[in-house]
């Protein structure tokens, strides 16, 4: 349950961190910039909970919820992939910013973190290619976070309910929002 809770927190925290950057960019008058320019380096916790072991979910088979067992293990892997994608995004963005610093013609910082600039010749081609690569990764990351955060929440609630029924009062009480009992 704790590891599963941690999976949800990682995903939800990352999702909110990215969304906040869009809001902040708009508030700072940088709403016209490309998404990759608005979303600066993502502060993602390097913490990764231990892998959920089969021994921790084996009771789900006995509880006739084998599909939930699959979902529990799958969602952890999916969120780990998103975490890895956010680190990759940080690395690629840092590379692009460095490239812009070295090749821009009239670049300017928007607020110290967000940047814009113009390029010509080969530099323009490379910058455009790298921007598209970054946009693509950011798009995948945001899509994944939207889907997987909701999925992590669904799996968490289903796991909690199943464990409570299976262990009949031996399962600790977790106060969850949307949980009518608490």
């Amino acid at each position: 349950m704790h590891k599963l809770q941690s999976v949800l927190e990682t995903s939800e925290n990352l999702r909110r961190a990215i969304n906040r950057q869009f809001v902040a960019a708009n508030e700072e008058g940088a709403g016209d910039l490309e998404p990759w320019a608005k979303v600066v380096e993502i502060v993602a916790d390097d913490y990764k909970e231990e892998a959920i072991s089969v021994s921790e979910t084996a009771f789900l088979i006995d509880a006739k919820r084998a599909e939930l067992m699959n979902d529990v293990h799958l969602i952890q892997r999916r969120v780990w992939h998103l975490l890895a994608a956010s680190k990759k995004y940080n690395a690629l963005r840092a590379e692009l910013v460095k490239f812009m610093e070295e090749h821009h013609q009239d670049g300017q910082p928007e607020d110290g973190l967000r940047v814009s600039g113009s390029f010509s010749g080969k530099a323009a081609f490379v910058a455009d290619m790298r921007q598209k690569q970054l946009q693509n990764l950011l798009g995948q990351l945001m899509d994944g976070l939207e889907t997987d955060t909701e999925e992590a929440w669904r799996v968490l609630l289903a796991f909690k309910q199943t464990a409570e029924e299976y262990f009949e009062g031996m399962f600790p009480v977790f106060k969850l929002e949307r949980d009518e009992k608490c």
């Binding site: 031996m170 600790p172 009480v173 106060k175 969850l176 929002e177």
Partner: protein, 109 residues
């Protein structure tokens, strides 16, 4: 050394047998909650000088989770109780009140 009575198996366990699990009685927020609620749950913790409620696991014993009320200054333990509760039992609240009249911790007092 901190020792806690495991309410699940009845063993008076010293801290080498126990694993801390952070603050007790948290309310967890997920998708759809406000940013303030989510961040409050995820990042904000009590750090009192005095009465505190914590989650512990009898890791090298019965393996079960339980909750404990203790004093972070004196290490006095006011009691341990089942993790299947949403608030501290009355006898523990009374034990705390005897030592700290007017105490409060989150929504409990």
């Amino acid at each position: 050394m901190l020792t806690l009575l495991c309410p699940c198996c009845g063993v008076q366990a010293d801290e080498t047998e126990l694993a801390p699990g952070g603050e007790a009685h948290l309310k967890r927020y997920g998708p759809g909650s406000t940013d303030d609620d989510f961040e409050g749950y995820l990042f904000m913790r009590e750090n009192p000088r005095g009465v505190h409620f914590e989650r512990w696991r009898h890791a090298n014993g019965c393996g079960k989770w339980f909750l404990a009320a203790r004093d972070t200054v004196t290490l006095e333990v006011y009691g341990t109780y089942s993790a299947q509760t949403t608030e501290p039992p009355e006898h523990i609240k009374e034990a705390i009140t005897a030592k700290h009249p007017g105490w409060s911790w989150r929504e409990f007092a």
